[in-house]
């Protein structure tokens, strides 16, 4: 226990918080190469934090029992978020240098945001949950607007901020209702209080709905998804990469914990909301992405669609659902890391790639890159034998275990629709004849190359040894 004062620094969250400040000072006093050095340090800090999360058994935040909790599910998602953060810092480093955006604050912002996410995932109390969400979001608002001289970046930052503030307000209102009707902010206490009742009263239902709305905004589930395409499009590509990869992990873990811990006995109440969010997200994500010509908007809609599938597993609300969510989230992270690692290294006429149609002729000029993109796209579409298929497969296993037949059929139909736009990217690369060849440059740093190869390896080779991930995710308890 906390008999030694130094032990406190081995709590991952505290370690990360302190190190983030150290990084900030470090960056401030560096004269040259501040951005590069700080990024490297940030990656190092995050790696250490992963080790601490992995090995922490006694000294963890759960000792502050009322605010945070500790479980294998939480640890899994924390490690996932940290890994995503590391990957996105590494793959975006060269991009930032390329567009001459060398503020050393960027990795620091990522660090603080990651800290917020770790707290979000672990939070066991409405208050700590809210503060964690705010810490995470505030860093991201700034990150979205980091390119100050670009109108689109500023616009996306402001848009994100205003809508985020609105959703936080709704979230807080929901919290206050729940607190008012149960008399507690702690998840366990709320659960204990509610276990005496068969039905939620009207106030609590309102509270629940408000909180769901706020959380749906954070995971960008339809109909609270409006900000996602605009923010994705406006923010610099590398920030978009971070948005796509990491915050979703934390938000998904949070929505799972919020539904399954304090309100686990009121499945019927929240499952209807999640059911609607899930179906709407899958279909809107699939249909709206068809019309996109901007690759970032397309990926935004694709991530909305993926959230729909993860929410299917939440509607299933069984052990298989937790397993499915963790496998799906892992595959989602890997696929997004891989696609952004490529996008952040592709230049068309010395500009970073934005329009999908610019991929034309890539299969001639750069066969390996286009093959990689095709594999990622097929995996995202859920075509076997790639990892994306197994994510979807486990989601449907969980849903059918709970006899959600209609939902599963709708899910697979949406996946067929979404296959269309993933295939369209392959079509543009392979089927369309291009007259102007060689305008696409692919330059990738050694570190990003490692990240890219590793994630491609996982996408392709998951099928040969699936048991490792599956055993881990099967053992998770919420």
């Amino acid at each position: 226990m906390l008999n030694n004062i130094y032990n406190i620094f081995f709590i991952p969250e505290i370690f990360l918080a302190c190190s983030s400040f150290v990084c900030l000072l470090f960056g401030l006093f560096l004269k040259k190469n501040a951005f590069r050095q700080t990024s490297n340090l940030a990656v190092f800090v995050l790696l250490l934090t992963i080790l601490l999360v992995y090995y922490d058994s006694e000294s963890n935040f759960a000792n502050y029992k009322s605010l945070f909790s500790h479980s294998s599910f939480i640890n899994f998602f924390k490690i996932l978020a940290l890994l995503g953060s590391i990957a996105s810092i590494i793959i975006s480093k060269d991009y930032f240098l390329g567009i001459k955006l060398k503020n050393f604050e960027i990795p620091i912002l990522f660090l603080f945001s990651t800290l917020g996410m770790m707290l979000m995932i672990a939070s066991n109390n409405l208050m700590s949950m809210y503060l964690a969400i705010e810490l995470q979001s505030l860093s991201l608002y700034v990150a979205a607007a980091i390119k100050r001289d670009s109108i689109t970046s500023a616009e996306s930052g402001v848009k994100y901020f205003i809508l985020g503030a609105l959703s936080s307000g709704i979230l807080l209102y929901g919290f206050s209702l729940i607190y008012g009707f149960t008399g507690s902010m702690n998840f366990d206490d709320i659960s204990f209080y509610l276990s005496k009742y068969d039905n939620l009263n009207l106030g609590l239902i309102f509270g629940l709905v408000f909180v769901m709305v706020g959380l749906a905004f954070k995971v960008s589930a339809v109909p609270f998804h409006m900000w996602t395409p605009d923010v994705y499009e406006g923010a610099p590509n590398s920030i978009t990469g971070f948005f796509a990869i990491v915050p979703k992990i934390a938000a998904v873990a949070l929505i799972y914990r919020f539904c399954l811990v304090p309100f686990e006995n009121f499945y019927l109440e929240w499952s209807q909301i999640i059911l609607f969010l899930s179906i709407a997200s899958m279909f809107l994500g699939a249909i709206a992405a068809i019309a996109q010509s901007n690759i970032k908007r397309l990926l935004a809609y694709s991530s909305i669609g993926h959230i729909g599938y993860i929410l299917i597993a939440l509607v299933a609300a069984n052990d298989d659902g937790i397993k499915a969510a963790s496998i799906y989230m892992f595959s989602y992270m890997i696929m997004n890391v891989a696609i952004f690692a490529i996008l952040l290294s592709l230049k068309v006429k010395n500009e970073y790639l934005i329009n999908i149609s610019d991929l034309k002729g890539l299969s001639k000029s750069n066969p390996i890159v286009s093959l990689s993109i095709s594999i990622i796209m097929l995996s995202m579409a859920g075509i076997p034998p790639f990892i994306g298929f197994f994510g979807k497969f486990y989601v449907f296993v969980a849903a059918i275990e709970q006899e959600l037949y209609v939902l599963s059929v709708l899910g697979v139909l949406a996946s067929v629709i979404s296959a269309f736009y993933y295939l369209r990217i392959i079509k543009i690369m392979y089927f369309d004849e291009s007259k102007s060849e060689g305008i696409i440059n692919f330059q990738i740093s050694f570190q990003s190359k490692i990240i890219l190869s590793l994630s491609l390896f996982l996408i392709i080779c998951f099928i040969f040894y699936p048991s490792l991930l599956i055993n881990i995710s099967a053992s998770l308890t919420i």
Binding site: F393, V397, V416
Partner: protein
């Protein structure tokens, strides 16, 4: 018996070939080294699959050469492959046709030869893997993975409307197969098993069977294809390169028939009994309607594509008669159609390579310049019509004999289709081959060369062999089919 993993070697040998091709440097001008590597890999696979046949135990109705490894720790999902009488010839068909496809594309594929050969080798692996799977999820993984190389083959090396055709092919078949995924999960939930062998023991309640049957029907009816789900097929055939059409007609359509026998008949007998009238109606409509449509075609490939739908109608009738003659006839018809339609597409490829058009009107009087071509074309044309002595006859005859036990209306429908098939095939042959050369461009057309002889003559021999010694093929599959029929009758007698 053989104590090394023969089936796995056959499945993965093409993939290993593909990996080797991936790492050899392409010869800039001719890509000759890539072509030879692909040809050797596929020929090796074919020779190994012949061992499968030679060592096959005819007296064993269940799976042979089984290999089983646990794959997923949390699931009863195994890497479980093996061969029985039903899958044996499907595997042989795949391994036989793929080297011919590689040879057929020897000169006419000029761009991206490396990717082309990679696609074909990957395709061969997944086709064989699919027929050899004894685990449904493994089957499903291969079944859907087939879409990836086929999508690329149609989309990259196809004709003018290739993009439309490739998307239609992919999305249509994907829509069918995802419903099968749901059905597979439901089956697993009810029985905790994914073994095809185990699931053939009839474990589902009647209502569950109906839904499962519809889900499987969605995927196989699109694949085989049955009217009215056939519209992707003419597009895909016309736009695909010659070798793509060959594999599509020769093997991919059989995936549907194979699935019907294994899943619908084998696992869902009571639901099958319920849906037999539906299948019979659709099949007869398919036979008559698509034959008439074929008659009106002006494009040779499209005509053969529609004739495929009609022939597959005979197959579905044979399968759902669920008696010995019907099933044997359906299997023979599938093998025969695999050879004959593949050969017909290759024949079309021969003249397309020379003249770059597939319009029937363009040709006429080819017999004057291409006597050898006219001869082999005639063998395949007669095989397609079902003349005695060719493979097509055995299948159609057995199906009609079986159909008499079921209903004479079905017999009338099927026989009418066979007559129509004679009409459109003979009419096609007359227009292309007979007469005098009216089109001046055809004056210098050359007869088939050595490479084309190597491709077409084995096919012609096997079509005749199948017609004269059908027992060579019927004996190995007989017991496996009997097993399915017995299970079916036991389930429905309850």
């Amino acid at each position: 018996m053989i104590d090394w993993p023969l089936v796995s070697v056959i499945i993965f040998l093409p993939l290993i070939g593909a990996l080797i091709i991936l790492f050899i440097k392409e010869d800039e001008l001719t890509s000759i080294n890539i072509k030879w590597a692909a040809l050797l890999a596929t020929l090796g696979t074919f020779i190994l699959s012949l061992i499968l046949w030679l060592q096959f135990d005819y007296s064993n109705p269940s799976y042979q050469y089984e290999e089983k490894f646990r794959w997923f720790d949390d699931f009863n999902f195994f890497y479980h492959v093996g061969v029985d009488g039903i899958s044996l010839f499907m595997i042989l068909l795949s391994t036989f046709l793929t080297p011919l496809c590689i040879l057929a594309s020897w000169n006419n594929i000029k761009k991206r030869v490396k990717e082309y050969m990679l696609s074909f080798l990957f395709l061969e692996t997944v086709m064989i893997g699919m027929f050899a799977s004894i685990d449904i999820l493994l089957f499903y993984i291969f079944f859907e993975a087939v879409l990836i190389p086929m999508y690329l083959i149609i989309g990259i090396w196809g004709g003018n409307r290739r993009i439309y055709a490739s998307f239609k092919f992919f999305l249509y078949t994907l829509l069918g197969s995802v419903l099968m995924l749901i059905a597979i999960i439901v089956m697993y939930r009810n029985t905790s098993s994914m073994s095809i062998e185990f699931l053939q023991g009839n474990y589902f309640s009647y209502n569950t069977q109906l839904f499962l049957w519809l889900a499987f029907f969605a995927s196989f009816a699109v694949k085989i294809p049955m009217w009215p789900f056939h519209t992707w097929l003419p597009d895909a055939h016309v736009e695909a390169p010659t070798a793509g059409s060959v594999i599509l007609a020769g093997v991919l359509l059989k995936m549907g028939g194979y699935g019907f026998i294994r899943f619908s008949l084998g696992m869902l007998p009571e639901a099958t009994e319920f849906f037999i009238p539906l299948i019979m109606t659709l099949s007869i409509v398919a036979i008559v309607y698509t034959s008439l449509v074929a008659l009106a075609q002006t494009d040779i490939k499209k005509l053969i594509a529609y004739s495929s739908v009609a022939h597959m109608g005979i197959v579905t009738i044979g399968i759902f008669l669920v008696n010995q003659q019907g099933l044997e006839g359906a299997m023979m018809q599938m093998i025969s159609h695999g050879l004959v339609s593949a050969a017909l597409f290759l024949c079309v490829g021969v003249i397309y390579d020379r003249m770059h058009t597939r319009e029937i009107e363009f040709y006429g009087g080819l017999v004057q310049r291409m006597p050898l071509y006219a001869t082999v074309f005639m063998i395949f044309m007669l095989g397609s019509v079902g003349l005695p002595g060719t493979s097509g006859f055995i299948g159609e005859f057995l199906v009609i004999v079986g159909a008499f036990k079921f209903s004479s209306y079905v017999v009338i429908g099927a026989a009418f289709g066979i007559i129509l098939s004679a009409v459109y095939m003979l009419y096609l042959y007359k227009r292309i081959i007979f007469g005098t050369i009216t089109n001046n461009k055809l004056a210098d057309i050359l007869d088939i060369n050595t490479r084309e002889k190597i491709i077409l003559i084995p096919l012609a021999i096997s079509v005749i062999l199948l017609g004269i010694f059908p027992n060579l093929f019927l004996d190995p599959m007989r017991l496996s089919l009997e097993l399915i029929i017995t299970n079916y009758e036991i389930a429905n007698a309850k």
